[in-house]
Amino acid sequence: MFSRGFSGRRRSADVEKRLPPGQYLTTDFPVLSAGPTPHIALEQWSFTLEGLVKSPVTWSWDDFLKLPSQTFTVDISCVTKWTKLDTKWHGVSVDRLLEGVEVDPAGRYVMAFSEAGYTTNIPLAELVNGQAFVAYQFDDKPLAPEHGGPARLVVPHLYFWKSAKWIRGLRILERDEPGFWEALGYNMHGDPWKEERYTGD
């Protein structure tokens, strides 16, 4: 059944093919957060890899900035239906971070954890091989607090709630566990191209 009198607002074919199903194009950068924006002093900030690793590692802000970094230009899709194309970030790939630890072969899942208690789960295999990074710049400027600054995880191939704002580390797990939104009805995986928005999609 179609919607009487609805034809839709089409974009150019170039844009349409980059929009996952049910998504619309935005040129703004909407802010979605469940609570107040934390404002984090850089001298208090650290990033930790822990869980199923031989020995956990923690970087201070200054140490983190010394890690080899690169610029990423990616399309991002939020479960609230907007997609933003060609967003430009600068940060450190998860591959680079994992070079600092020895991951137990049993470790197959990751819980990203943030300031203020936010968590989200991602399979480890979907964070490696250039698929994800920890960004501290957006559009050549320091990442604003409301967008997750000083640093956020970016996993562009999954809905953007997986790209944890105010990231403080990654915990390597043996089994998949729901994070914050996943326990509240959102999908455990979150692939926009499969429209994995909610539980059971």
Partner: protein, 248 residues
């Protein structure tokens, strides 16, 4: 972890459309597979063109869960939008509208969560807060509650008559309006953007254990949430829902 139901798409029949303000309308839908929502939750709306092209948007439920079988959505017209112009200009009573929900388990309040309750809304951000107030009224709850509602002008206030009636009939509820662009002649109330001193005046009578729900444009939500935390409210008792771009 609470087991979450799998959400199915369903067609609801439009049983009524109310013009709330020049830019907002409420749509009442009879849902064949209605389930009770928690006030604050939203539904997804999906439109399908004859060739299969689809557009989806999320809208907060405005109705209270006591209204069995019916869902009310209040939708603001977005000028360059795709779904809201269809709902405002094409959809009529008797049409079928495809929806699924309810969605979102965090920005929710019901009487079991108690209070005191602070609701802060900007523009159409009042919609999920209205679901909370309607639920509170349907439950005849006496939980001390204040709504602080910011609009550009009096003609943009959604649910004005109903809010006035609720506030007049209920000693536990106070509603404060503020207008940022224009006011009615003789208006004695707030006429500025929500700021710390306004929040202080509204929150003080509720005490320190308040639960706050803030919904509106990003700039309003950011400043209100920051101010509430600065006033000493624990961040985990300040729940937010934002829409719109940053800084505008």
């Amino acid at each position: 972890m609470i087991a979450q139901p799998v959400l199915e798409w369903q067609f609801g029949q439009v049983t009524g459309i109310t013009t709330e303000t020049p830019r907002t309308k409420s749509f009442r839908l009879a849902l064949p597979k209605w389930i009770p929502h928690r006030p604050g939750q939203h539904y997804d709306v999906r439109l399908t063109a004859p060739d299969g092209y689809r557009a989806e948007r999320s809208y907060s439920a405005a109705s209270e869960p006591e209204r069995i079988g019916e869902l009310e959505l209040t939708v603001e017209l977005i000028d360059d939008g795709e779904v809201s112009p269809y709902m405002h200009d094409v959809l009529v009573r008797g049409d079928q509208l495809e929806v699924r929900g309810p969605i979102g388990g965090y920005f929710v309040w019901d009487v079991t969560l108690g209070g005191p309750l602070l609701l802060v809304g900007g523009g159409s951000g009042v919609v999920p807060l209205m679901a909370m107030l309607r639920h509170r009224a349907a439950q005849r709850a006496q939980i001390p509650t204040r709504l602080l509602y910011s609009s550009r002008s009096p003609d943009e206030v959604i649910y004005r008559a109903e809010l006035d009636a609720l506030a007049n009939s209920d000693t536990g509820l106070e509603v404060d309006f503020t207008f940022t662009r224009s006011v009615s002649p003789g208006w004695m109330g707030y006429r500025r953007r929500i700021d710390s001193s306004m929040l202080n005046e509204v929150v003080r009578p509720l005490g320190k254990d308040v639960r706050a729900y803030v919904c509106g444009p990003t700039s309003l939500v950011e400043s209100v949430a920051n101010a509430l935390v600065a006033m000493g409210l624990p961040a985990e008792r300040v729940l937010t829902e934002r829409f719109g771009p940053t800084g505008t």
